[in-house]
């Protein structure tokens, strides 16, 4: 079943000195084994409050997800990252964003994503590495 959590993060040292007390709420869905970071088995959905100005890296740290265990990543139906790429780490999150994160084991063949919306940062990263890969991990055999 889908696990729904409400997680409020207020005490992380990293954020203590940030100005303003407004805490944007981000909706996150985790798919695959990484759902355990949201209290689920294979799917977990949670609302997370993060300090204003938080970036994707902060979100992953807050839920304890190693970026290397992260596969496809979407923000508001736009692909922001791929397995083995790290184009989304600096992306700033805002109130009401929906973030979908998939495990490293998820697949999405190129022919089924050819032409979809992508962030500019991801486009640039893929231009360097070639777009038609299933994974950008250095060694997909591992």
């Amino acid at each position: 079943m889908i696990c729904v959590l409400n997680v409020t993060v207020r005490s992380a040292d990293y954020f203590i000195n940030l100005p303003n007390s407004f805490m944007p709420t981000i909706n996150i869905t985790l798919y695959g084994d990484i759902a355990s970071h949201g209290g689920g088995k294979y799917i977990a959905s949670l609302d997370l409050e993060l300090p204003e100005g938080a970036i994707m890296d902060d979100l992953l740290q807050t839920i304890g997800l190693d970026p290397e265990d992260r596969g496809y990543l979407f923000i508001n139906a736009i692909l922001h990252d791929m397995p083995g790429l790290y184009a989304s780490q600096e992306t700033r999150l805002k109130e009401g964003d929906h973030v979908g994160i998939f495990s490293i084991r998820h697949m999405w063949p190129y022919q089924y994503r050819d032409g979809i919306r992508m962030s500019n940062a991801l486009k640039e990263a893929m231009k360097e590495r070639g777009e038609m890969r299933n994974t950008y991990r250095e060694n997909p055999k591992n």
Binding site: T29, A77, F102, I104, M107, Y112, D114, I116, P140
Partner: protein
């Protein structure tokens, strides 16, 4: 022993073994079915009339020892759904057993003069024409069970359900799986109706004491086999406990939904709020929760990817195998239904009746759009399969597929190309697949263009995947590579590891070369695939198809698809470019 052609004439109930003509000798699987159809079937014939044929062919490596995931059988004919040439392929038991009987292909032609129905029993000794009275009118679950009791050698059972008997255009051809269940379908294009029109209810294939598959160069075969096996078993997507093994093809449901490309409620939106509830992740959770069924199920002996599943009901009993992505999407998201148990029940209905699940789900969605029932009404949707089972007038319309149903209910949002409805990827959001949908020789088909690395395809420096300008060449290259893989007998999912691991690509070609004694390498894959496409395209042109048929549905040009509010923007010139080389331009 050289491979033979087994020709079965249903007009006089005779059969004959023939040498494989030189012109056909290098082909297997899809390459062979399409070549035979092009040579022997009048492209203008009626698909259900006496001049169409059904051709069944295993792939190049089918039946060889331990070739990984090599159990695909190709079925070919002129399609009653599309009017084009058609190849649909399936897993299950048939490919390896046909190959081990030393057969390159089975050609079924003619029609019984007496209107009787037959079960063909194919063994090393020939063909027996048995009465089908004991299985006629029955669903495929019962047919498989009856025939395994009658023939205890656990043969392959190729069969059609009641929909095929009635020669409706959405009739698929079933192949039993290792547990003798009918979940493996050469589903698309109505070839079950072509089989029914020959008076054949079932084909039993018993390979006992068959001659086996001759391998021309065992060392080369083994070298290629090892490379390919290593690639499959080590890649994230296809290795044990990898993405496909864990969540099946339905691993795509949530991804496509997050991307906004999941056709929802008859292609009126790109996201479905209930997607997670019918996804592969949810299938895995239900299997664990109910402590029954399984993921990581293999659909044929020797599969090492094992992307299939067995879905259990609430009582822990097997409900159906399998709930895969296209099926869950067609029955679920596209009908606004988020109940996995109902998706599974409708899938079982399709397996039993002999329906292609993609076309069936799309058809129900059209009926919903037309006001017959409401989107999301799962009980009513399940009830429509009863209409088909009873062959009521409504059921007969539904059994004809999307376009016939759309006409019956006055619907203009019709997601078809060349008469065949689209699978689970929205072309307005995923434009590359739209190019392939529009131009495929088979009608809208998600398996017509699997990606290969551009440097392998020889188009590496010439195309920009981020631009529409390169889409024609890419689509053609992908379609050619797929036509080749469809001829190997390998599952198309080997495409994933061989994209990222070049040794796997070489291994695929070397294993084929080893079996056939052909002098081919990975460099020959695209040229040979294009040969197949040309044969198919020529057939379609003779059948009356033109470039104007290579178009996505009109509504996609003006209806914006949420959430991105996109329309189809690829120019017709790009579409025309894909097959310009066949048209002599």
């Amino acid at each position: 022993m050289a491979r033979k052609i087994l020709r079965i004439n249903m007009g006089d109930l005779s059969h004959a073994y023939e040498e494989v003509p030189e012109k056909w000798a290098k082909w297997a699987g899809r390459g062979l079915t399409s070549t035979i159809i092009a040579d022997e079937v009048d492209p203008t014939c009626h698909p259900l009339g006496p001049n169409n044929k059904l051709v069944i062919a295993p792939g190049w490596v089918s039946g060889t020892p331990a070739a990984p995931s090599s159990g695909r059988t190709s079925f070919g004919g002129k399609s009653p759904l599309t009017g084009t040439i058609k190849e649909a392929n399936s897993g299950g038991l048939s490919s390896q057993k046909i190959a081990k009987l030393g057969l390159a292909a089975i050609i079924i032609e003619g029609m019984p003069k007496d209107g009787a129905w037959y079960t063909l029993v194919v063994t090393k000794d020939g063909v027996a024409f048995e009465s089908a009275d004991d299985v006629l009118g029955k669903g495929m679950y019962e047919v498989d069970e009856i025939l395994w009791k009658k023939y205890p050698s656990k043969p392959a059972v190729i069969g059609i359900g009641p929909v095929g008997e009635e020669k409706l255009s959405n009739a698929g051809i079933s192949v039993n799986d290792p547990e003798n269940k009918p979940g493996r379908y050469a589903g698309r294009g109505g070839l079950g109706a072509v089989m029914g029109a020959r008076g054949v209810k079932a084909i039993v294939v018993d390979d006992t004491d068959g001659p086996g598959v001759e391998i021309a160069d065992m060392d080369l075969f083994k070298t290629g086999r090892k490379k390919l096996t290593d690639a499959i078993t080590s890649h994230d997507l296809t290795k044990p406990n990898g993405g496909l093994n864990s969540f099946g093809t339905n691993v795509l449901m949530n991804i496509i939904n997050e991307a906004g490309g999941l056709p929802t409620r008859n292609f009126s939106a790109g996201q479905f709020e209930g997607a997670a509830k019918i996804s592969g992740e949810m299938v895995a959770e239900m299997v664990e929760k109910r402590e029954a069924g399984m993921t990581g199920h293999g659909c044929h002996p020797g599969c090492i990817i094992k992307c299939s599943n067995i879905y259990p009901d609430a009582d822990g009993e097997e409900l159906v195998s399998c709930v895969e992505y296209e099926t869950a999407w067609a029955m679920g998201a596209n009908c606004g239904i988020d109940d996995l148990d109902y998706v599974a029940m409708m899938t079982r209905e399709c397996n039993d009746l002999g329906l292609d699940t993609i076309e069936a789900g799309n058809t129900v969605a059209i009926a919903m759009e037309g006001g017959l029932i409401e989107f999301g009404d799962k009980e009513a949707a399940l009830g429509l399969y009863d209409e088909i089972r009873q062959m009521s007038p409504l059921g007969r319309i539904l059994g004809q597929g999307v376009e016939a149903t759309a006409k019956a209910f006055g619907v203009h949002r019709i997601p078809t190309v060349k008469g065949q409805s689209m699978p689970a990827y929205e072309p307005r959001a995923i434009k590359g697949i739209g190019v392939t949908y529009a131009t495929s020789t088979m009608g809208a088909d998600h398996t017509a263009g699997y990606t290969i690395a551009p440097e392998i395809a020889g188009v590496g420096g010439k195309v920009d995947p981020l631009s529409n300008e390169g889409k024609a060449e890419l689509s053609l290259t992908f379609q050619a590579a797929t036509a080749f893989v469809d001829s190997t007998g390998y599952c198309l999912f080997i495409a994933f590891p061989i994209l990222d691991i070049p040794d796997g690509w070489a291994g695929m070609a070397e294993s084929v070369a080893g079996v056939m004694g052909m002098d081919i390498t990975g460099d020959d894959v695209i040229p040979m695939g294009k040969e197949i496409l040309k044969i198919e395209r020529d057939f379609n042109m003779k059948a009356g198809f033109t470039a104007q048929d290579d178009r996505p549905p009109e509504f996609m040009r003006y209806e914006k698809l949420p959430p991105h509010d996109e329309v189809w923007t690829v120019n017709d010139e790009v579409l025309d470019e894909v097959y310009a080389w066949v048209n002599g331009k």
